[in-house]
Amino acid sequence: MSHGLQQLHRRGGAAGDHSDVPHEPVLVGPVRDQLDRLIARYPTKQSCLLPALWLVQESRGWISEGSIGEVAAALDLTPAYVKGVVTFYTMYHTHPVGRHFIQVCTTSPCALCGAEDTLRALLKETGCRELGATSPDGRFTVIEVECLGACGFPTPVLVDDDFIENVTPEGVPAMLARYK
């Protein structure tokens, strides 16, 4: 890649194997209630899979093997099937990420307008150094993503659920200061 960086995110990479972490049930209490409301609303249980995975990720930050098993049981699916779906979609994390997850668009329209410089500045300022790696203080994970659908506002950056437009390399430190 032009910036000489290797994408670790999709492969798990630095995040490693988390199978030894004991699983704490996630589909309990209010999260389970939310899932039951979704099940009542959707035509089939299986069609609740994407929203169910979102619920898990919102409450745990990532989707573990244990969570996959719980979702599978709740929706009458097999864990292998659920894993196949989880790994198809790039926004589901299959390993823990930093407290703040930063997605930077570097697709052509943004690349034309300096997105790769913004990405480099983000990696430097967060201390992540590598794409997909988490900063040593656990605060940030930075990944490069394909088209965020805001090409008129280069560079768009998604920090957790905050969609931030027109991020320049110079603007990076002030932007990051808002995320502790």
């Binding site: 994407l50 926004m91 052509s108 329209p109 034309l112 088209c147 090409c151 998604l158 969609f163």
Partner: protein, 435 residues
Amino acid sequence: MGYPHPSHPKETVVLSKYFGDPGARSYAGWVERGGYQAFRQALATAPDALIATIKESGLRGRGGAGFPTGVKWGLMPKPDGRARFLVCNADESEPGTFKDREIMRWTPHALLEGCAIAAHAIAAETIFIYIRGEFTEPWRIMSAAVEEAYAHGVFGPTPLGSGRRIDVILHRGAGAYICGEETAMLNSIEGKRGNPRIKPHYPAQAGVFGLPTTINNVETLAAVPHIVTRGAAWHKSLSLGNPKSTGTKLISICGHVQRPGNYEVTMGFPMQELIFELAGGPPPGRTLKAVIPGGSSVPIMTAEEVDGCATDYEGIVERGSMLGSGGMIVMDDSADMVYQIWRLARFYAHESCAQCTQCREGTAWTVKVLERILAGKGRPDDLDLLLELSENMTGKTICVLSDSCAAPVVSGIRKFRGEFEAYIAKARQPALAAV
């Protein structure tokens, strides 16, 4: 109003009238601005008459394919007791396109009203609005709008007193360009991997859950209320000379222009004026080199081809490309075409669902060969190899993702061959480190 720039006097402002006006977001604000009158009027109209009006208006799908909307609605089978669905494609993820995002951000009820009318016309009782996972702000705004619309009786057991149930479900994507392909979207709604389906069956026969389904783009549905209240003749009159392309079109312009943003113009508007007058053209001292006019999946146009081109379905086809979704990526003379084409190919390689060999292998090898060229390691026959690869990726797969990867490669080599050859001849500094 226009957003992020005030509307230009040459724009024809219909859908974008309230862009930048946060007051239009609420139910009350929308009703104050005349909202939901069209739905009332539609409910008093027989579905067949409504479909006839949309056919007559000439409205065509704004998501990329340009299929006549009224014809699509008319393909739904007669109600036979089975459940029927409307799916709104709000998965906007075609590089260069960012118009649906503005519709949802500023005028969520315009979209909901369009959905409600379409659901009435095709007798669908469930509407799925599939919003891409990255659109966090449109998601929040649309969620609030749906809740308000229910509270005011627009949806639910008897929409505005009509007596026939319509429900709306917002469904969040999770990061997959391919889910914008309509049958991949149906699989994604069903809780499956987003693999496109082999057609036929078409969605009207066997759509989501195998049941009759119509899929329309956000901009298409947002245009529907205006046609209902103002009439098909009004919509047909919005055309600069070509009766096959009618209405207004939101054109997203990005890349090397001074005022990137969305501009709403009458079909047939001169592309030259769009880029230079409305969007301000390339930065001072720069000249226009190339435009990808319809989102990244269409052939690249040169500056000469832009000159005199009418921005509508047929006008751009005449110049060898396509209107697509109306997302224009503008490149000035500083753009390295080989690098940009490689960057686009990387997008398609990343987004391939990998079920068809030609696409899975073709996109990956296209990237590798382009990488080799950019690293100064290109071989004399690499351009022929790329063209051969592209040939095998065109018209041979379940969906058109692989065709979309081939389009910029083939048009790029044809129109900017010298730039590729310069890398291969080592007459140009490598843009990438050796692979």
